[in-house]
Amino acid sequence: MSKLLNVKDLTVQYETDETIIHAVNGISFELEEGKTLGIVGETGAGKTTTCLSILRLISETSGRITGGEISFHGEDMMKKSELEMRKIRGSKISMIFQDPMTALNPVMTVGKQIGEVIRKHQKCSRLEAADRAKEMLTKVGIAPERCSDYPHQFSGGMKQRVVIAMALACNPSLLLADEPTTALDVTIQAQMLEMIKDLQKQCNTAMVLITHDLGIVAETCNSVGIMYAGELVEYGTAENIFERAVHPYTIGLFQAIPSIEERTARLKVIPGLMPDPADLPKGCKFSPRCRYSTRQCKTQTPPYCEITPGHFVRCFCGDYKEGE
């Protein structure tokens, strides 16, 4: 299978008057057609920024993509003009936003909103667009008669369905899902994921799924990237990450998940907080919180090494594994 999306050394900075915020620091990943990549990380790790920069939606006033390459279908996205990007947005790459409550225009009926995306990218009449919109609504499990309703007449879960319908209306080859289930309750989360997976299979759409929830990743993703302070600390296939995690941060994340089998009074937490992205520590960015950190970790930046084919770790512990 060919590579659909290839991100290499992507670096994004936000500038304020006093400081430079290093939101994303040289991350690389690739995605094949129809596959799903999960990006997991704490709030502020740079997950959303990564997604926005794929669509080149980082606001020009404060943020900048300072380095790296993004290629999509083999084409360099960084060299595209704004007009070309507009044609790609919504038709080839679309994005689902975190909060369905605010992602829909309150004064436009949902049918119109879906129809607009279709009409923007495909030449068709208003009526055809309305028909397609109804079809999309049916696909996401909403009765087509409801296309003339306004967003405030829908519940949160149904709004997210509408957002998904909008995102998939033009059969994009890549879907960026920015925490699509965070704002929803757990039962709806499961439904939503099931539906996204279903539609993804139907349309052969690749997906970048951003989430905090490792459970979701295990269910849906082929490969996983763990993000910390703007870096991918561990990246590999789902089996690699779930069964042979190496990075102390990844291991810490797994230990923080409550287990059904064991009775524990307290969950194991990773002590401390994520560093301020405007003032990142020297060396390994996780070292202040890492149980295994050595003097080397605090002074030298660990290499991003491939410990087994397709399994990357940014840690000195990777070195040792290799040396063994």
Binding site: R89, G90, S94, M95, F97, N105, V107, R146, Q153
Partner: protein, 297 residues
């Protein structure tokens, strides 16, 4: 199983259907007695001036010196002025001018300030700075003074009066539009629209302007009253509509010398100006409350 759940979900809310936002606003507006009375008054006034030539008992410029300065009676509902012209007829035809000029000025100034304000708020940067500084300059001058100087510079007449009032309205309205656009620009659905490939023009037209409509409509109804007052004011000091064309302000101004000896000539036009202004203000307030239910609980 999931399909079933989905179907249940989609049928759950069907009872709330068929109630559009407009219907909702209308329902809340109906509850506001004062606003409804004002609306009826405005509609009645509108009908009366539209059909002025049918309703009015006399031509507005028919001079009948033998019947000058008549007190209100059945023959002359509001009496006659010092030339024997029927005041009721003159008020009807005067209302035509007032309402027409007010309507045009409000419409034109709303359109211009919607475009200016939306562009300034959406694009920001130097365009915003330039537009807003010009607006600031205009806002520093008191409205009436500005209208007087424009009318004095351009000369009297219906078109020039309308132009003067339009120019006075634009700065304030532009500020209102810009401020609501600034709020809207950071909304997630605008970001979503960009992520679906929307161009700037498309986003302003389809997503931003419809959302600023609510405050704009309220402002329009308030400005309507203001405009009528401004026209009357300009005509009163002789810079607005030229006699013999009747206009509420100029009727008032003509009757100035008789204010102590013959009350109907100033009372009725004055009353009409005050009532119309009040009606538009009450209606505008009611509309605002209806559109934003959180404001008044």
């Amino acid at each position: 199983m999931i399909k079933q759940n989905i179907n249940m979900l989609s049928n759950e809310h069907t009872s709330t259907r068929n109630r559009s936002q407009l219907g909702e606003i209308w329902r809340r507006l109906k509850k506001n007695k004062l606003a409804m009375v004002s609306m009826c008054f405005i509609l009645l006034l509108g009908l009366m001036v539209i059909f002025a030539n049918v309703i009015s008992p006399y031509p507005y410029d028919k001079i009948d010196l033998s019947n000058a300065l008549q007190m209100p009676s059945l023959a002359h509902l509001m009496g006659t002025d010092d030339f024997g012209r029927d005041i009721f007829s003159r008020i009807l035809f005067g209302g035509r001018i007032s309402l027409l000029v007010a309507f045009c000025t409000v419409l034109v100034s709303i359109v211009i300030s919607a475009v200016l304000g939306a562009a300034a708020g959406y694009f920001g940067g130097w365009f915003d700075s330039v537009v807003m500084r010009i607006v600031d300059v205009f806002m520093a001058i008191p409205g009436m003074l500005l209208a007087i100087s424009i009318a004095a510079a351009l000369g009297t007449g219906i078109v020039n009066t309308a132009l003067a009032i339009t120019i006075c309205n634009i700065p304030g309205l532009t500020r209102i539009v810009r401020s609501s656009v600034l709020l809207l620009r950071d909304q997630e659905y605008i970001e979503a629209a960009v992520s679906f490939g929307g161009s700037d023009k498309h986003i302003i037209r389809r997503h931003i302007l419809p959302n600023t409509l609510a405050p704009l409509i309220v402002q329009a109804s308030l400005k309507f009253g203001d405009a009528i007052l401004s026209i009357a004011g300009l005509s009163f000091i002789g810079l607005g509509i030229e006699p013999p064309t009747p206009e509420w302000g100029s009727i008032l101004s003509n009757g100035r010398e008789l204010i102590r000896s013959f009350w109907p000539i100033v009372t009725f036009p004055g009353l009409m100006i005050a009532l119309t202004m009040l009606a538009f203000n009450l209606f505008g307030d009611g509309l605002r409350d209806a559109m934003d239910p959180r404001l008044k609980q």
